[in-house]
């Protein structure tokens, strides 16, 4: 189970990086980065998974006394919650910059932006 999630995450990271490095359209690069970001999140969450345990919420399913033997690791989940929100912020920023670049040059092709190339 955890291996499947990790393999999926790693494949998503590789797919996203491949897309970001080979595409020249800025919008496609942004989509690729989002895919890679999702892969990282899946890997991080799957690290906290433990077989046969349940979500870290104390209710009828998890008696207080047995909490530490019944729940999975809550720390990666808290970390990924943060990572998802920041990832969304980064995606929005990239989209805004892409719009600005399109406004100045009239194209979204990254190879046309050669000012900073040496």
């Amino acid at each position: 189970m955890v291996i499947i999630a990790m393999v999926t995450g790693f494949i998503l990271i590789l797919m996203g990086l491949y897309g970001a490095l080979t595409n020249t359209n800025i919008l496609r690069m942004i989509v690729s980065f989002s895919v890679a970001n999702t892969g990282v999140n899946i890997v991080l969450v799957s690290v906290g998974y433990m077989h046969g345990r349940t979500a870290p919420i104390l209710d009828n399913a998890v008696p207080l006394a047995e909490a530490s033997t019944r729940i999975i690791d809550p720390v990666p989940q808290a970390l990924v919650l943060t990572a998802i929100v920041i990832g969304l912020g980064i995606t929005t920023l990239m989209l805004a910059y892409a719009y600005k670049l399109y406004e100045t040059k009239g194209t979204l092709d990254i190879s046309k932006f050669s000012e900073l190339k040496w």
Binding site: M6, L21, L64
Partner: protein, 233 residues
């Protein structure tokens, strides 16, 4: 061609590293020290059923403040970058097609329900899987639905900014109150911890998370509105 080859080589190396990690990975069978502490002490100290919420709002409250600040900065930068175009007073170049009957009627039905679900998710953040960030994103999805129905609809930037600023300030204010009346900055024991599993438990967590939810919802909405206002220019 050579560029693609280098890319593939790089990805192959990265894939090898990942495989190595995967082969050597041994899942934990016990909670580590930090997680064990959280599992044992959350119920007595914080009183929140959802341990993830307890970590985010109280144990790591300062980090959450930083996260909200990053989001605020993002929203501010997006607003700064995209607002220039509006002042030129450009008129709409192309006529947008009417959105369909299904979308219009559906959004009238769904938007109030989605807003309600968002509020439910952030008010019950300490009891159920959910919280301020998730609830805020749900609220922003209602705004997105409205924008899909009518891309040229104008939202009041003043209202969004007011909600965002007020909830952010109140969040800080509760944090400082925790410093005066309880153990430290953003301490939730400002209010009685209450009985585990009830709505008014976990001290100040429901209030803090509701404020975070409003703030995040307003920030996401302002990003969406700013991006949407580039339409037609």
């Amino acid at each position: 061609m050579i560029k693609r080859f280098i890319v593939l080589l790089f990805l192959l190396a990265l894939g090898l590293i990942f495989t190595q990690l995967l082969v050597e990975y041994i899942p934990d069978s016990e909670l580590n020290l930090t997680a064990h502490y959280y599992a044992e002490h959350t119920a007595q100290d914080i009183g929140a059923s959802n341990i993830v919420t307890a970590i985010i709002v109280t144990y790591r409250g300062l980090d959450t403040l930083g996260e909200v600040t990053v989001l605020f900065l993002t929203a501010a930068i997006v607003g700064l970058l995209l607002s220039k175009g509006n002042y030129k007073g450009k008129s709409l170049q192309r006529q947008l097609p009417q959105s369909g009957e299904l979308l219009t009627t559906g959004s009238h039905l769904l938007v109030p329900l989605i807003l309600l679900l968002g509020a439910y998710v952030f008010i019950n953040g300490h009891l159920t899987p959910g919280g301020g960030f998730q609830g805020g994103a749900i609220i922003a999805s209602a705004i997105l639905l409205i924008l899909l129905t009518d891309p040229l609809r104008k939202f009041s930037h003043t209202l969004i900014a007011t909600i965002e600023a007020t909830s952010g300030l109140l969040f800080l204010f509760i944090g400082v109150l925790g410093m005066i009346y309880a153990g430290g900055f953003l301490d939730n024991r400002l209010l009685p911890v209450g009985e585990l599993g009830t709505l008014f438990s976990a001290g100040a967590i429901p209030f803090i998370y509701s404020l975070i939810g409003l703030k995040v919802g307003a920030e996401f909405s302002s990003m969406l509105v700013n991006l949407s206002e580039t339409e037609g220019s």
